[in-house]
């Protein structure tokens, strides 16, 4: 399946290679570089590039291209998904997945890649298993290892490999038993210039951080599970139970994991929590244009809209913008023509606005493209879809009260925060 892997940085250097079968010369990457040159933007490189003898499947993450070399038929998504899993694992291990981090930990990276694939076929990709096989580097451990000469490599087969719950390691022990769930929702909407919504959808995820001793069996139920239209689960969730009772029943992996991601059905009306008033105009024959933008909150259930960031790609004819923000700061990049305005928090009493003029190329005709406005913001303590966790129960373990069992099973102690991202506005 996967023959080799090359890691290529933004400047086109191959800084790591790994082969699972015979060695494939790195000159195969020349085809990739050709494709890279042809593509105008880095993200426009086709994910699958055929070459005379191989196929290159690549993903771009953190400005590193992960290029897998394939020799024969294999589902492309299989490889793509695996490469993303590799990146996730690196991130999990090193905190960040950058060229520097990979270079610093090249031996761990190599050991990981060795365990993750055998002869090109995935072997162990669960982070819990990998962490038992190869311990993540920490400063303390590095120091200890250099002194004692001990290693990062586990000697026993992780029990999870063999069990029906491969995602959980055995013998987990904590003094403070705790389980946190984050409900994170994203609104994704396109609004036309008159302000009406073209599409709006909510996607959410429930991320969990579970630190529980032993083999707990959890059930999580929602107040309004019917809201969830389309869900995908971590493999630990018992699907039958969800089908029958709309309850999430699972033996959780140890540590951080994504329990489920969901989509709120489009039948439910999506309340857009902010609105934008804008007026961008260019006059024919004049080298000036007017720019006005006002933001305001709506339907936020009294929660503050924070970390607002507005960005807009202005037409190519715009030379410069001279604007005046009522709050926050703005930048305009004359090369990429990207205007971004860091608004911060919206104060409903005093709506933030950005007003001013744009100077156009003299003699150039009036630009006819419509700039789109992208808005990012966050609202804490609110899941916009109205999804609520009802209760969390634990079976299978009997912790003593001082271990925090009560805290654990209490419902309503969940942290619900809601990030809403990317509202596009087709202005004009």
């Amino acid at each position: 399946m996967i023959h080799s892997l090359f890691l290529i940085n933004a400047s086109g250097d191959i800084f790591l290679e790994k082969h699972w079968k015979s060695v494939v010369s790195r000159s195969v990457c020349d085809y990739f570089f050709e494709a890279l040159e042809r593509a105008t933007e880095p993200e426009n490189v086709p994910p699958v590039i055929p070459t005379p003898h191989h196929f290159l499947i690549n993903v771009l993450r953190h400005r590193i291209y992960f290029v897998a070399v394939i020799q024969s038929e294999v589902p492309p998504l299989f490889v793509i998904e695996f490469l993303h899993r590799v990146v996730d694992t690196f991130q999990d291990y090193f905190g960040v997945c950058t060229e520097a981090a990979i270079k610093d930990n090249v031996v761990v990276v190599y050991e990981l890649l060795e365990e993750m694939l055998d002869n090109g076929f995935p072997l162990a990709t669960e982070s819990n298993i990998l962490k038992e096989l190869i311990k993540p580097p920490t400063i303390l451990r590095t120091v200890v290892n250099t002194i004692t000469g001990s290693t990062n490599v586990g000697e026993q087969l992780p029990t999870g490999q063999l069990s029906v719950v491969p995602w959980r390691r055995t013998g987990v022990k904590y003094t403070n038993n705790e389980a946190y769930f984050d409900v994170v929702e994203e609104i994704d909407a396109i609004i036309d210039k008159s302000g009406s919504t073209i599409t709006a959808e909510i996607q959410g995820v429930v991320d969990a951080c579970v630190k529980l001793t032993g083999m707990p069996d959890l059930t999580l139920s929602f107040m309004n599970p019917r809201l969830l239209d389309d869900v995908s689960f971590h493999p630990c969730v018992r699907f039958k139970r969800w089908e029958a009772e709309r309850i999430l029943s699972f033996i959780p992996p140890d540590g951080n994991f994504r329990l489920l991601s969901y989509h709120v059905s489009s039948q439910n009306l999506v309340a857009i929590p902010v609105y934008v008033k804008h007026n961008i105009s260019f006059r024919e024959g004049s080298s000036q244009g007017r720019f006005e933008l006002t933001l305001g909150p709506k339907q936020t259930m009294g929660k503050a809209v924070e970390s607002v960031l507005v960005s807009s790609q202005l037409p190519r004819g715009v030379l410069n913008a001279n604007l005046n923000p009522s709050q926050g700061t703005y930048t305009f990049d004359p090369v990429t023509k990207l205007l971004s305005w860091d608004v911060g928090k919206i104060n409903p009493q005093k709506l933030p606005s950005l007003k001013g003029s744009m100077s156009l190329q003299t003699g150039a005709s009036k630009p006819d493209e419509n700039p789109t406005i992208n808005i990012q913001f966050k609202i804490q303590q609110l899941a916009i879809s109205g999804l609520k966790v009802n209760r969390l129960d634990m079976y299978g373990e009997k912790y003593k009260p001082f271990k925090g069992i009560k805290y654990m099973t209490k419902a309503g102690k969940f942290q619900n925060d809601c990030h809403l991202l990317v509202i596009q506005k087709l202005a004009g």
Binding site: I14, L16, T40, E41, N44, P47, V48, P50, L60, I70, Q71, S72, E73, P75, P76, L77, I80, F82, H84, V106, V107, V109, Y110, E111, E114, D118, N119, P122, L123, T125, G149, T151, Q156, L157, L162, V164, V165, P166, I190, D192, I198, T199, G214, D230, S232, F233, P235, F239, K240, S261, H263, Q313, R316, D368, E369, T372, N374, Y395, Q424, L426
Partner: protein
């Protein structure tokens, strides 16, 4: 050596070739550094070795050649330090191919490793051994694989499955022997092995579909528990399998519907007729009934649409697309749309597949139309694919919204995307007759766009549209003739010229003038434009030779001396054909017919048409070209092959029963204290909702049916209290007797007592709601239970060795029965190792009453149905058992120590059962 290098070094120094110099220097530097590494590897300190190996691996990672260190590294293959060892393995696998002889030195280490009691070491020895691509060790590898394939540990067996393709690629001669191993491993019942062995099957012998028959049902049932990568491989394989074994579920309706859907494609008439004939033939066939195995596959893959792994979702989607009845395919749309919110690479692949699906099954994605709307932040390649999908989805009802969307796209700043949008509009216009004029008008407006690319693309599209009905649109042609002065894009100029030439009769005044202008600029034009100028000249010469004769001659003369031989050829050809000379051939009479023949309008069709002959989701489908190793998706068979090949004989049950018998015999003679009357503990009743609206009238009747006298000493559990049951009480116990109709089932004895004054009628089980794999053998209906009477029945439940409760309804009462552990005795003598099992150990303090061995034995056997195994020491008691349905071994050891302390060890392949057992026995012993 060094001398030689110094020589070259000096030579280059003279030549002052900086670059070479750097190379030489770094080469020398490497030699010295390698020396230093060799020294470190030869030292007897592990930490130095580790450091050296780390540096070597870092060099390998950067693609530096370190093969000269091979002898020094290979010596360390037997190093005690596990990390050094692992890194040596990495090195070895990388370079063994180049240094075959030296690599052989390491083989004995691995052979020793294969016999290690630690399964991880056995597995990794096999992994490395099979990864060394040295032909000479093929026999050793073969032997190792065969041995590992029957290893106790499923992990080692999995590794064996991985090793099969490695050996096959090294020496294809071994295929036959390897197929035997594959056959053996396919029969493996663990989920761990299933994915890997199917992978090996796909690489070694994908055509041996006969090996799958016997394992088909098992694979379907295991599927949900297999790890995600294995799922993808298994699903893809099963898709192919199903195509050979089952009948087309859409055999009757699909053809008829297809033809109606295709009505847009004007040229499909003939095809339709073919299909009608075919459909007529089909009507004669007997009605379609889906094979239960086909249904099983569809049912068991459906939940995987919820997987977090995009590859799994895609695999299920393609399975449904290729195998499911038309009415059921729709469910995949939602899951695929969900994948569109993933990484852009995933989106790219999914959209390619959606584009193919939308051509055949448009209705499926129509509700999700808006999910394919384009965002300004999408990369261009995604935008273009979404556009493709939107175009495929367009029909009379939604075309207006789609066109409105397209209009916004034309204003985008991404020019490639704008061009694609214009083409998309063109395609909608050709496919949907009603909007053709609207589209054409819109496109004509675009001709006055400021952006030349937009204009050019519109011209090309308009040209195609006009071909469909040129008469009505001479004004558009005129408009375009004007454009030729300004527009510079060659393709657009060529299109305009072609249009004017083709329809010169509609614009008799303008055409010659255009030719005049073009004759002036001929020499500066691009090749495609020149060709079209020649064409225009020829056509005008034929229709209007009075005005254009000289111009044509002039153009042809220019072309005669053109640099491009194509153009020279064309000019010569045309001159011979149209200009009458003495020797003009027979063809020139027909020149007008040749040039001004009515040309069929081009069909604008999707590039994704007919791509579905490749299996969706495959690399070949994505590239629209067959990739190496691609297995064709077979056509449905005309008549179904024999379904009985998939039946599995129940050989196992005979063996199982025999063991039971021996077990019992030994047990009886062994411990007299443990009789049949062991009581059970550990039971977790999740829920037992009671809902009773029982009762019935009285009538005297006879009750009979198979009843078993309840053995008083077995602990009974209450299922339904007589108050909540309004008089009807139900108790149950695990009788610990083999359930004779099915050896995999646990016998559950249920006692009904009617405490009312009236009779209860028709007690039977309804709607079992079971976890996957669980089965219930219902007891025969109790027709009447007279007042005050009680009756006992036995039912069998196969809990599949899970700890889940089995839920079922007893007439109107709902119950859930929780599972207790092993219910049947099993005994065998353990001399060997406990490999491949999970070991769970707990320390405990024995309860006050557990004074001697006897009590311990009693307590343990009362907790779970285990049998004692003799062992040498009197401080140790050993027990063994087997789970009922899958026959997993359970071994329990209790070691007593001073002061009432003891250690309990449970070995079991199933971790959950092991943990539960530990908990229960602990409880029993510490009381």
């Amino acid at each position: 050596m060094i001398h030689l290098i110094m020589d070259t070094f000096l030579r280059y120094l003279k030549e002052r070739e900086q670059e070479q110099l750097v190379k030489i220097l770094s080469f020398m530097f490497y030699i010295f550094r390698h020396d230093d590494l060799k020294e470190m590897l030869d030292s007897n300190k592990d930490s130095l070795k580790l450091e050296a190996m780390k540096r070597i691996v870092a060099m390998i990672a950067r693609g530096k050649n370190t093969s000269d260190l091979f002898p020094a590294v290979v010596k360390n293959v037997a190093c005690k330090n596990i990390e050094v060892k692992k890194l040596v393995y990495v090195y070895l696998v990388r370079y063994a191919e180049e240094q075959q002889d030296l690599a052989l030195l390491s083989i004995s280490t691995f052979q020793r490793g294969l016999k290690d009691p630690n399964q991880l070491i056995r597995a990794s020895a096999l992994r490395v051994l099979s990864s060394i691509r040295v032909t000479i060790i093929v026999p050793i590898m073969m032997l190792a694989i065969k041995e590992a394939a029957s290893d106790m540990s499923p992990y080692v067996r999995k590794t064996a499955a991985h090793a099969i393709p490695k050996l096959h690629s090294l020496d294809p001669e071994q295929k036959d022997q390897l197929i035997e191993v594959i056959e053996k491993l396919l029969a493996d019942k663990t989920t761990l092995v299933a994915g890997s062995v199917v992978m090996a099957f796909e690489e070694v012998c994908p055509d041996r579909i006969d090996l799958i028959h016997k394992n088909y049902r098992k694979l379907c049932n295991l599927l949900i528990d297999v790890e995600e990568w294995g799922q993808v491989v298994i699903i893809n394989m099963l898709t192919r399998y199903a195509r050979t074994q089952f009948l087309n579920p859409n055999i009757n309706e699909s053809l008829l519907e297809d033809s109606s859907e295709k009505a847009f494609y004007a040229s499909d008439d003939e095809e339709d007729e073919d299909k009608k004939a075919e459909a007529a033939a089909l009507v004669k066939r007997k009605p379609y009934v889906m094979d239960p195995d086909h249904r099983l596959l569809l049912r068991n893959t459906k939940p995987l649409l919820q997987s977090r792994n995009a590859a799994v979702v895609m695999a299920v989607a393609q399975l449904y697309f290729h195998l499911a009845p038309k009415a059921e395919v729709g469910i995949i749309a939602k899951a695929l749309v969900r994948l569109m919110r993933s990484h852009s690479e995933v989106q790219y692949v999914v959209l390619q597949n959606v584009a193919t699906m939308t051509i055949k099954r448009r209705g499926m994605f129509e509700p999700y139309l808006k999910s394919f709307y384009i965002r300004s932040t999408d990369p261009t390649q995604i935008k273009i694919l979404k556009l493709e999908v939107l175009t495929n989805l367009a029909n009379e009802t939604n075309i207006s919204t789609i066109l409105r969307e397209f209009q916004t796209y034309i204003k985008s700043m991404d020019k490639d995307f704008v061009a694609a949008s214009i083409q998309a509009i063109g395609r909608c216009a050709t496919n949907i007759g009603e909007v053709r004029d609207t589209c054409l008008n819109g496109l004509v407006q675009l001709l006055s766009n400021r952006d030349e690319l937009v204009v050019a693309e519109s011209v090309v599209v308009i040209k195609k549209l006009l071909q469909m009905q040129p008469e009505q649109h001479s004004d558009i042609i005129k408009h375009m003739a004007k454009l030729i002065d300004n527009i510079q894009v060659p393709m657009a100029r060529a299109s305009i010229l072609w249009l004017i030439g083709e329809y010169c009769e509609h614009v008799p005044k303008i055409a010659p003038d255009v030719l005049r202008k073009m004759a002036k600029t001929f020499t500066n034009e691009e090749d495609i434009v020149k060709l079209q100028i020649i064409n225009l000249a020829a056509k005008l010469y034929l229709t209007n030779s009075k005005q254009t004769k000289l111009l044509t001659q002039y153009v042809l003369n220019l072309a005669k001396y053109d640099q491009n031989y194509d153009i020279r050829d064309r000019a010569r050809f045309i001159r011979q054909l149209i200009v009458p000379t003495d020797k003009s051939g027979a063809l020139s009479k027909y020149a007008k017919k040749l040039f001004l023949a009515l040309k069929p309008a081009p069909v604008l069709e999707s590039p994704f048409k007919d791509r579905d002959h490749f299996q969706l989701g495959s690399l070949s489908h994505l590239l629209n070209a067959k990739a190496g190793g691609y297995q064709e998706l077979p056509e449905w068979p005309e008549s179904a092959p024999d379904p009985s090949v998939r039946n599995v004989e129940v050989k196992d049950s005979v063996c199982a029963r025999r063991t039971v018998l021996t077990g019992k015999a030994v047990k009886n003679q062994k411990s007299s204290s443990e009789s049949e009357s062991e009581s059970e503990s550990s039971e977790s009743e999740d829920e037992s909702e009671e809902e009773s609206e029982e009762e019935s009238e009285s009538d005297t009747n006879i009750r009979k049916k198979k009843t078993i006298a309840p053995s008083g000493s077995i602990k009974m559990y209450e299922l339904l209290h007589r108050i909540t049951g309004e008089g009807l009480a139900v108790e149950y116990c695990f009788s610990r007797q083999p359930f004779s109709p099915d050896p995999n089932m646990v016998a559950v004895q249920i006692q009904f007592t009617n405490n009312t004054n009236s009779e209860t009628k028709n007690l039977h089980i309804e709607e079992p709601r079971l976890q996957s794999g669980m089965r219930i053998r219902e007891f025969a209906e109790i027709e009447v239970l007279a007042a005050g009477e009680s009756v006992t029945v036995v039912m069998g439940i196969d809990f599949c060795d899970s700890t889940q409760a089995a839920n079922f309804q007893l007439k109107d009462l709902k119950f859930s029965l929780a599972f207790n552990l092993t219910k049947r005795c099993f005994l065998s003598l353990f001399t060997g190792k406990l490999m491949g099992m999970n070991e769970i150990s707990e320390k405990l303090t024995l309860g006050e009453k557990c004074v001697n061995e006897h009590v311990i034995v009693e307590r343990v056997t009362a907790t779970a149905n285990l049998s004692r195994v003799p062992c040498g020491s009197d401080k140790e008691c050993r027990f063994a058992g087997k789970t009922v349905s899958s026959g997993c071994l359970v071994l329990v050891t209790v070691t007593t120590k001073e002061g009432g302390r003891a250690q309990l060890t449970v070995n079991c392949e199933k971790m959950v059962i092991g943990t539960m057992l530990v908990k229960d026995i602990m409880q029993a012993l510490s009381q």
